[in-house]
Assembly symmetry: D2
Homo-oligomer: 328 residues x 4
């Protein structure tokens, strides 16, 4: 499905391909009367935009067009559609992907699943460019959940490096090698009241992870102490409640018990794999002949997709909260 | 929502509480004509059953009753309802949870969310007992996806120990201290053809993680190399395709590209936190007075919930595949 | 799907067969703290119960069992499951339906759709007995939408007769012939505020008709002036607004504009066909041989299913309103 | 919700307003490899187009733009988005609707529901212009269900007239009076195999009526003999099966038993009310003052919306069948 909803009124529907005419998102369940303009998207879109070291030099057309659901500068209660026109595409870079699929890319699975009819240009519908629509939907979601909810999002690790002052060097080294590098994004969300999320299938973790794993290149999601909980005893890991508001001494549960927010910051950690597209030579197989070939992937690539992924993670957390009914 | 569906015909709806009359699951979208009897559930239910060291000594009533959707020993195509009657419950153990909520439990959030009307006995609807319904649904899902799909599920770590021959000792030590310990479950699923899963919101990772995080005590989910991808360069992490069937040299992507199975084993890793209920003394707060008290949690507890969680993880992976349309 | 939801938190999932162990409904999205007991169901279940002239003399087991979602006499916020045990079933009456399907029944389509694996006893999952679950869910829905909403439900026509004082005679005449007769149910719902329903796919008419046409034997649904609107000019049919609260002079629109309630009574009219099961001799075909046979359908049948259908229509209207978010 | 799906992979999401930049539909679950071009839409769009007597003289911009999900002239398996740019709009005609809502229009309910923030221009999101998206989605649906499925759609009645040779005169008379007139559309769908539809909540009638009642101005929907079943005895109404393929002697059930197609033509009848917008003078109320005023509605109006509704009904029946899984 290209629609996500957690069973409440808020839902998003995405469409588009990297090299098609436009990509877009339809956001449903937006309350009427929220002030909104294209300017509101600028800050988060800029965080995702290319240009920084480690991100692709392609200048994307990332101006949002609000084509429905808005009137006199306010949301109307009708579905809000936001589109982004594509431009500056160089289709020629992506020829031949169907027969010599790129390692760790969707090229081959898309070809098999769709019988060869998929649009291969720039990854088609699988392109990371579609995360633009998640950021746009996240801006709407943030308006709905309100300013009391604060996001603290950061890159906590790139490669084996956890000192942020050295991230540029790690990326530069990867770029110099025509290679890429993985990264980890941490997002802490404060100001969420107790009670958001449902037991079982709409647990806060379930909804958040569902959306997070829809972001290309994400391979791990954890909350609170995450995989460290495995190493621990209960007495170490339990979060003691220290006051009648439910504040806890530690936050190993990442602000969530039984799938429901407990009023403490919601903490999520997300692992992004190194960009699969690298200039470094790799071995490819020709699906028609079985022949092998060693070659580079041409085109413009991000060295560390986590850099641009950070704001996408944050956007998705906002969508999660709006989907679960949080309102300002 | 108490229903999960990935947008296809297969869906599950769960209900019940730890100390109510019965718990159950309604499984929708089951093809007609599948041979099925209550005997088919025995193997997986036994894997979840209590009794082993580290699991609660409570003898649960875990006999499945197939109350609809079955006729002459075969599925009929109508919704399949499976119920488990509760018995051997000792409600008295759980008095007072509303005012002195257990650390890292759902007691407080449930009380707040449901205005104090929630059933507190044994965790009510939040109880791990409801995972019985996931295992039962998993048995149906396995029948649908067929015998070619093989599950290899194991505990890979308990506490800091990764040598399975020493797990008993780790658990015994925790039990001796009135404490609990975390665990990690790995599940590898082979025999899944290329093409299962959808780009974006029904990616295989999205659907699997949605269900996995609905299992109580799960705090992390990763696929393939998981969080290790952060440390890597692209050239290390990329999975080279070595034949025309799409077999890869390595499986860092855990059998999934672009959200879609690539024909290699699907590998998932799940972190279970140490059981929050421990006998060891902890500090509690009285929500009415703000007073603090140091006490033990009475009752019967699993020392390592991951032990019983392993088959639940496997069941959930089967449900994921059936939900995404895999059929024998 | 055996689940219905209009995209909000309220949803219902039904299961069961006429001659299985039990039938049931799981109601999701019920607010916590609503007083509820099995006694609350008695009035509406009695309206549906057999025994009146024109209804089957079979004494059904229609005692509701609230098996989850209730604690201390109040809803808990967890899914509410209600089951009805089956009894007094005479399976022998229904042998041979697979080969000589009854005219205007689901026997043949069920056999084809489910490859002959469907439960044929008493219509199996297609049985009108499952409307018991709709009435039970309607009782919950009425509690949610509150006492300000009043239902005025009546049989307006049986056969060609519209004078209710003569309905008994019409039914007695049909019974005397071993035949059945159609009926029309009108339901007017007052006290619904302006604003319930959504433009397009969750219009009040869409949601109501979706549920109404799930009731066996319903072949027509209309709102307000219904099919009479065809005969009219706009100037006759338009409902003039006569005060600032939106009261209209006439109610040809049946209380709904643009899919949304306008504050005037919501008026729906539902056509029930004559019961397809009749004692009168009819021609049957043997599907294996193509041979024809003239025979009676044995068993106990309602002469006018609309009689019992009236409370089902009302229940479904309550479910519609709860599904669209109306709360007391 | 602005999305419709019957629980299978096919789904549609609509957006847009009469006087916004564009309206559109995202169609999900379209199989890959279907030949498709903008030319394929021409025939059905022309049937809906304005210009005939009784339809508004406004020349709408109804050229479809396929902006995603298509590559090299074939569907790709990715979501298919189709947009229509708006043009030739005269916003000035619709000023003041918020305070003096038109009788039998959505003006007042939209204002109340959305707190006055709705886009009132041309009915905004409630505009009949959005049926363009249903026709476009219907074209896709027809491609999916294949050429064996044949639609026979006609206007069977306009006003009290059932002789189609006299329809023009009926409409001309209404136009001459500045008035409008109702109409009835009959659609018969042949070539649908036995087995499409589900018991209860996804009955063929439920899904079809859900969509049909989302079409503006529809007030009644019936199948087969429709409301005439009320007048009948069972022996008259039952459809005898006359051969082993399931052909029936009569088709009072409209090709559907137990919610499932029985192989006979599916027959639906739809009542459209007279266009609510008429030039004839009517009394309006000023919501701010309670003052009454007699005036005409300015602007260009269809005299008989059923004329353009016919192809919309047919499109919606195609969407119904695709939603329920029918494939060529």
């Amino acid at each position: 499905m290209n629609r996500f909803s957690a069973g409440g009124s808020f839902g998003i529907t995405v469409f588009g391909e990297s090299h098609g005419e436009m990509i877009g998102v339809v956001v449903d369940g937006v309350p009427a009367g929220i002030p909104l303009s294209e300017f509101d998207f600028e800050k988060d879109l800029a965080r995702r935009r290319s240009g920084a070291a480690g991100t692709t030099p392609r200048t994307e057309s990332d101006t949002p067009h609000l084509v429905s659901g808005i009137y006199n500068g306010h949301t109307t209660g009708a579905p809000l559609a936001i589109v982004f026109y594509n431009s500056n595409t160089r289709s020629g870079d992506y020829e031949g992907l169907q027969n010599t699929p790129r390692p760790s890319h969707a090229d081959r699975v898309a070809g098999v699943k769709f019988g060869g009819w998929n649009d291969p240009r720039g990854g088609g519908h699988f392109s990371g460019r579609l995360t633009l629509t998640l950021v746009a939907a996240g801006v709407i979601a943030k308006k709905i959940i309100g300013d009391n909810v604060k996001f603290n999002t950061r890159i906590s690790q790139i490669g084996t490096e956890t000192d942020s002052t050295k991230f540029d060097a790690v990326i530069a080294a990867a770029l110099a090698d025509g290679d890429s590098v993985g990264g980890r994004v941490e997002c802490s969300v404060s100001g969420v009241p107790t009670g958001i999320g449902e037991p079982f299938f709409d647990s806060l973790e379930s909804v958040a992870s569902h959306l997070l794993f829809s972001i290309p290149a994400v391979k791990g999601v954890s909350f609170g102490a995450g995989f460290d909980v495995v190493n621990r005893r209960g007495i170490e890991n339990n979060d003691l409640i220290i006051n009648t508001e439910g504040t806890t001494e530690t936050n190993n549960d990442g602000g969530i018990n039984g799938g429901i927010s407990n009023g403490n910051p919601i903490c999520v950690s997300v692992a992004f794999k190194p960009t699969a597209s690298i200039s470094k030579k790799q071995e490819f197989i020709h699906l028609d002949s079985g022949e092998r070939e060693i070659k580079s992937i041409k085109g413009r690539h991000d060295a560390c997709i986590a850099l641009r992924g950070a704001v996408v993670v944050e956007s998705v957390m906002a969508i999660t909260l709006a989907s679960l009914g949080l309102k300002a």
